[in-house]
């Protein structure tokens, strides 16, 4: 167990190293650099050279690579040319908005998917199965911006239950915070529940078809325990893995919902960075999100191994 864990962590570091190297190389290859971007069309050659010297862009590649890595480790990820603030500060501010939202939506979606998916599988063809499948179809057919607008119209304009948009930090006023995130949270949950529910249902159906499922019932174990401690144990591997990946993806991918609800989150930061050609910021966000994906895979892996210590060293669909 311990040696496997070490191997996993080592592998994660190697992936992170490669990702950061690729990011560095990509920005190196792209025409233009941070100095050209910040000067815009108005600058001349002397100004460019001066700014490049100031930003250290005229130094040899090896030296800059060394600086890049020593900066990464010290969370000194450069300065955003658009915001004029350190990249890490920007990311961590926006993360405070996006991360709780993403985490809560994945956990809620997982909870709903496990409950409904299990009932749907155990009573295949029953009411819950039919209704949940129709809802999944409906949810996957609705684009998130459209659902967002629909909810806004209903709950803000008509019922006036929540504000139209904007963000209040939980430290300021927790009630207002909840009001500001309840709609975006719902939209995210609707989007994520569908695929997870389908996964839970199909892996539960597979588990129910196994000989040990019938054998556990015939030996006299209560049905509830057969479902929870036997079938779910086997069926959760795929949905948990998928939820981990989903969470990591959400950090960079809630831009639409954030835009509609005017939330100052990671997605909008990323959009702005790309629009403004803020290379340092783009680099920082790409690295952060990919590190987070690697980290989430590691965490999911450890969680699965804790739940099922008997998993094969490289099994479990990871």
């Amino acid at each position: 167990m311990f040696r496997q864990l070490l191997r996993r962590i080592l592998a994660a570091f190697i992936v992170m190293f490669l990702v950061s190297l690729a990011t560095f190389a990509a920005l190196e290859v792209v025409p233009g650099n941070a100095a050209i971007v910040s000067l815009g069309t108005e600058g001349n050659v002397e100004q460019l050279a001066a700014l490049e010297a100031q930003l250290g862009l005229d130094r040899p590649l090896g030296e800059r690579l060394f600086d890049y890595y020593s900066g990464l480790i010290r969370f000194d990820w450069g300065t955003s040319s658009y915001y004029g603030q350190p990249v890490w500060t920007l990311i961590s501010q926006r993360l405070a908005v996006t991360f709780p939202l993403a985490l809560a939506s994945v956990l809620l979606a997982l909870l709903i998917a496990i409950t409904l998916g299990t009932v749907a599988a155990v009573r295949k063809g029953g009411v819950v199965d039919i209704i949940s499948r129709s809802l999944v179809q409906l949810a996957s057919a609705m684009p998130s911006f459209w659902l967002s607008l629909l909810l806004l119209v209903l709950f803000s304009s008509v019922l006036r239950l929540v504000p139209m948009g904007g963000y209040v930090s939980p430290a300021e006023d927790f009630g207002a915070y909840l009001n500001s995130i309840v709609l975006p949270l719902s939209v995210l949950v609707v989007g994520e529940t569908g695929p997870l529910l389908r996964l839970v249902r199909s892996s539960m159906l597979e588990a129910i078809g196994e000989d040990w499922y019938t054998a556990a019932q015939v030996k006299g174990l209560r049905k509830g325990r057969v479902i929870v401690s036997y079938a779910l144990r086997s069926a959760l591997t795929a949905p948990l893995t998928s939820a981990g990946t989903q969470l990591a993806k959400l950090l960079g991918g809630t831009a639409i919902v954030e835009s509609v609800f005017a939330l100052p989150g990671m997605g909008r930061l990323f959009l702005t960075a790309v629009e403004m050609r803020d290379l340092q910021l783009v680099q920082g966000i790409v690295i952060f999100v990919s590190f987070f994906v690697v980290l989430m895979n590691l965490v999911t892996d450890i969680v699965l191994r804790l739940v099922n210590p008997a998993l094969e060293p490289d099994g479990g669909g990871l």
Binding site: A216, Q217, V218, G220, L221, R222, S229, R233, N308, A310
Partner: protein, 314 residues
């Protein structure tokens, strides 16, 4: 009435296409040891599955009744099914390697259904494994099923069935898929079990030499019907059905399977037309004659010996 712990009367089962079981009647006396024999596909396991409510979803019982310990076993549902049927029947299933959850330790799977406390249950499981000649129960208990050999897993399955002190033990092909040495051991374990006071056994087996050593009453099934029944001596000593005779002549051989033909009778068990009134065996029967096609009367031959064949064979 209650001298019979299990009494199946006129059981019929069918899926959407055809009949699978036709008018199956059999019983296990309290303290008795009944065996069902026949090639694969004869309906032996299907009969058990009707009793245990584990028929495939498209198969339904269309007629007949099953009484277990005086109760209507087919009508049981939910908690009553668990308490009155599952907790009173020890069942050793056919597919030994897949009856245990691969991700749960043996100790847990042996104790989680027991009404005893965890500690007591664990002590009992340890004692049971010892009585099944496992030398190191501690190691087996702390293993995952995948870490055990086939013979070990078979014993763990037996221990699961015995944990409940159920009055009826059902063993479905307990010795198939085991190598000769392990099979010998498992057979001895069953023989030992049968000497225990008050335990009734329903055994399903291909292995006639094993049946001869262990059973006192035998049912021969063919194509979803019981074709002959009686005491061990009646059925094997004075076999009246040509199918029984063919089986008995093979008892030196270890197992029968559908793909290998019986020696003197070619062909295999038919899947279709089980509900027809004609004799399903007639196409393979060396004694077949024209009158076999409407000859399904169940004839009494004396004692508890019955046969479903119109010929008077010596």
């Amino acid at each position: 009435m209650d001298s019979r712990i299990l009494d199946i009367q006129g059981l019929c089962a069918r899926d959407s296409v055809e009949e699978l079981l036709v008018d199956v009647s059999l019983h296990v006396d309290a303290g008795g040891r009944t065996a069902i024999v026949g090639e694969s596909g004869c309906g032996k396991t299907m009969t058990l599955r009707a009793l245990l409510h584990t028929l495939p979803p498209d198969v339904e019982v269309s007629a007949g009744r099953i009484r277990f310990m005086g109760e209507d076993a087919l009508a049981l549902k939910g908690e009553a099914l668990r308490k009155d049927l599952y907790m009173r029947i020890g069942h050793v299933g056919q597919n030994t390697s897949e009856n245990l959850h691969p991700l749960l330790k043996v100790s847990r799977q042996l104790t989680d259904f027991s009404p005893l406390g965890r500690k007591e249950a664990l002590e009992k499981a340890t004692a049971l494994l010892e009585s099944l000649s496992i030398k190191d129960p501690g190691r087996v208990l702390s293993s995952y099923p995948g870490e055990l050999s086939g013979g070990m897993r078979q014993r763990v399955n037996m221990a699961v069935a015995l944990m409940k002190d159920a009055p009826l033990l059902i063993a479905d092909e307990p010795t198939s898929a085991l190598d000769a040495h392990v099979r010998r051991q498992v057979e001895e374990l069953y023989q030992g079990l049968c000497e225990r006071e008050g335990l009734s056994l329903l055994l399903i087996s291909h292995d006639l030499s094993f049946v001869r050593r262990i059973a006192d009453r035998v049912y021969v099934m063919y194509a979803g019907r019981v074709v002959e029944e009686g005491s061990l001596d009646e059925v094997f000593g004075e076999a009246a059905h040509p199918y029984t005779k063919a089986l008995a002549s093979l008892s030196g051989r270890r197992s029968l399977d559908r793909t290998r033909d019986l020696d003197e009778i070619g062909g295999s068990v038919p899947d279709k037309g089980r509900g027809d009134p004609s004799c399903a065996f007639s196409s393979r029967c060396p004694y077949a004659a024209r009158d076999c096609h409407n000859a399904l009367s169940y004839r009494h031959l004396g004692g508890s010996h019955y046969v479903r064949c119109c010929h008077e064979l010596a």
